[in-house]
């Protein structure tokens, strides 16, 4: 039974090499589109993650607050679940930092002495909490502390960056849905045209007394093979392109993402794409043949 199915499947592939090659190539192309989308999305998510981790809050301290009050504040901040990192910056450290980063202010700062800037507590929020809302409510709460003059959480920048990234995500999702729908549509139709070209086979099989499942089985198996071949080819091609891109644009990635290696799709995704290719190939063939069978008495 199994042996017979394998033989019939291979015969089908061999007899219509052109149709098989086109179907496989269309599956490859479609999966490449989906895979390329996944890859780009993944890169953007990595960049997003890097940016989000940057979100931090500065608590500027009153010049007359006591060291005890400051220490208590630092402890209280440390205890909060949102917080991953807390640094206490003294007045002296702040001035030194400002002097180093804005040398053009040098002459002006010289006149102020060592304590030109107020001391601050620099807080980094965990990526999970780095939204505008969390940062704002966190800031509002600590604003109430008696040692704090003002809280600076770069709300504007966070909002802007997140809006921007949100836009990219939205475009990405819309594009992904379009690509996925297009891919499915293309595969379904190519397969259907291929089966259409072989419709006499379906009709004749039924005339000599083959059951529907007997007729469908080798087509579905053929589709599964095409899907497997298509997804493996797609991933090899994607891997190749990704590798070339990394080689050509390594420094750019390094500058943007702090790493020269463009991460490739993780194993689970690769397995998922292969499975997708196989099932789409098999199901599309089965449905197409089934539809032709509906027209044959």
């Amino acid at each position: 039974m199994m042996h017979d199915l394998i033989r019939r499947t291979l015969r089908g592939l061999g007899e219509h090499p052109y149709v098989s090659v086109v179907s496989t190539a269309v599956i490859t192309t479609s999966l490449m589109l989906v895979g390329a989308w996944a890859l780009v999305t993944l890169q953007i998510e990595v960049i997003l993650g890097a940016w989000q981790q940057d979100a931090h809050v500065s608590l500027w301290l009153k010049q007359d607050s006591t060291p005890e009050a400051r220490a208590a504040l630092v402890d209280r901040v440390k205890a909060r679940p949102e917080v991953t990192e807390v640094t206490y910056v003294t007045e002296v450290e702040a001035s030194t930092w400002l002097r180093a980063h804005m040398p053009e202010l040098g002459p002006a700062l010289d006149d102020l002495g060592e304590t030109a800037l107020p001391a601050s507590v620099e807080v980094v929020l965990g990526a999970d909490y780095a939204t505008t809302e969390t940062a704002s409510s966190f800031a509002a709460e600590l604003q109430a502390d008696p040692s704090v003059t003002s809280v600076d959480h770069a709300a504007d920048w966070v909002a802007r960056a997140q809006a921007f990234l949100g836009l990219f995500r939205t475009i990405g999702i819309v594009f992904g849905v379009v690509v996925a729908a297009a891919a499915l549509f293309l595969v379904a139709n190519t397969v259907h045209l291929g089966v259409y070209a072989r419709r006499d086979e379906v009709e004749i099989m039924r005339l000599v007394g083959a059951t529907d499942s007997y007729i469908i089985a080798p087509f579905a198996a053929e589709g599964a093979l095409q899907g497997a071949a298509g997804s493996v080819t797609a991933m090899l091609l994607l891997g190749g392109i990704s590798h070339l891109l990394t080689r050509q644009a390594g420094e750019v990635f390094a500058a943007v993402m702090g790493q020269a290696e463009l991460p490739f799709l993780p194993g689970v995704w690769l397995a998922g794409l292969t499975l997708l290719g196989i099932s789409v190939g098999a199901v599309a063939h089965a449905i197409s043949v089934y539809r032709f069978l509906g027209r044959v008495p």
Binding site: R11, E15, I204, M205, R206, V208, G209
Partner: protein
């Protein structure tokens, strides 16, 4: 074996068959004759379920073909060998594969297929052509492949639609002898044909289609049959 009660078939405005009442017994050999377009192929197509009658009832081995569920149809067809007027061969496949199809479909063991296919091809004069692609065969050779495919699994009923239309006289006689031999082994055989010469050479019961109705002729004496209008028993 085959029973038609008041069967009619209409295509749009055209009546292909009208109130046909025919009984064919198990093991009979029947000719279906009539002019081009008389409804011979339509008659046969209804018997293997390729066409549903517009009116009436149609039984084969007691099964109502009209009411047969779609997934039972294959099992009817495995018992009915059909030689189609337009052959219905897979032109891209080899001769052997086309003939083997009938056996593969019923799940016949590989070695039985390997034995039966060359034997039946030999019978129709296509010895050694097993590996030729059907598209490369002559018209008459294709017709003989169609015959081989229909008889390879010893069906209970054999429906032959113009089985000798593309064959020369000697080959036509050979084919008729094959059909005759199959009939002698118990198969019910229905042959649609124009060939008066052959019908005279192998005199059998004739159903003549005319104006969508059946005229019956029984060869009680050898020689050309006599046609009577009306229903057969």
């Amino acid at each position: 074996m085959i029973k038609l009660y008041h069967v009619g078939k209409t295509y749009g405005e055209r009546d292909a068959l009208r109130d046909v009442n025919v009984h064919v017994e198990r093991g009979e050999f029947v000719y279906i004759t009539g002019a081009s377009g008389a409804g011979k192929s339509t008659f046969l197509r209804m018997l293997y379920g390729a066409e549903a009658p517009s009116t009436g009832k149609l039984l084969i081995s007691g099964q109502n073909v009209t009411r047969l569920a779609r997934d039972r149809m294959p099992f009817l067809r495995r018992n009915v060998g059909v030689i189609h007027q337009d052959f219905k061969l897979l032109l891209d496949r080899r001769v052997g594969d086309n003939v083997a199809l009938t056996l593969e479909v019923i799940g016949a063991p590989r070695d039985q297929i390997r034995r039966r296919v060359p034997a039946v091809l030999n019978l129709v004069g296509l010895k050694g052509r097993e590996d030729a692609r059907v598209a490369e065969l002559s018209g008459g050779e294709q017709q003989r492949v169609a015959i081989a495919r229909a008889i390879v699994n010893d069906p209970a009923v054999l429906l032959a639609d113009e089985p000798t239309g593309n064959l020369d006289g000697a080959m036509a006689v050979e084919v008729m002898e094959i059909l005759h031999a199959i009939n002698l082994r118990g198969t019910t055989v229905l042959v649609a044909t124009h060939d008066v010469g052959l019908m005279e050479r192998f005199p059998k019961r004739r159903l003549r289609l005319e104006g969508g109705r059946v005229l019956e002729a029984r060869p009680r004496t050898p020689g050309p049959g006599r046609f009577e209008a009306g229903n057969s028993a």
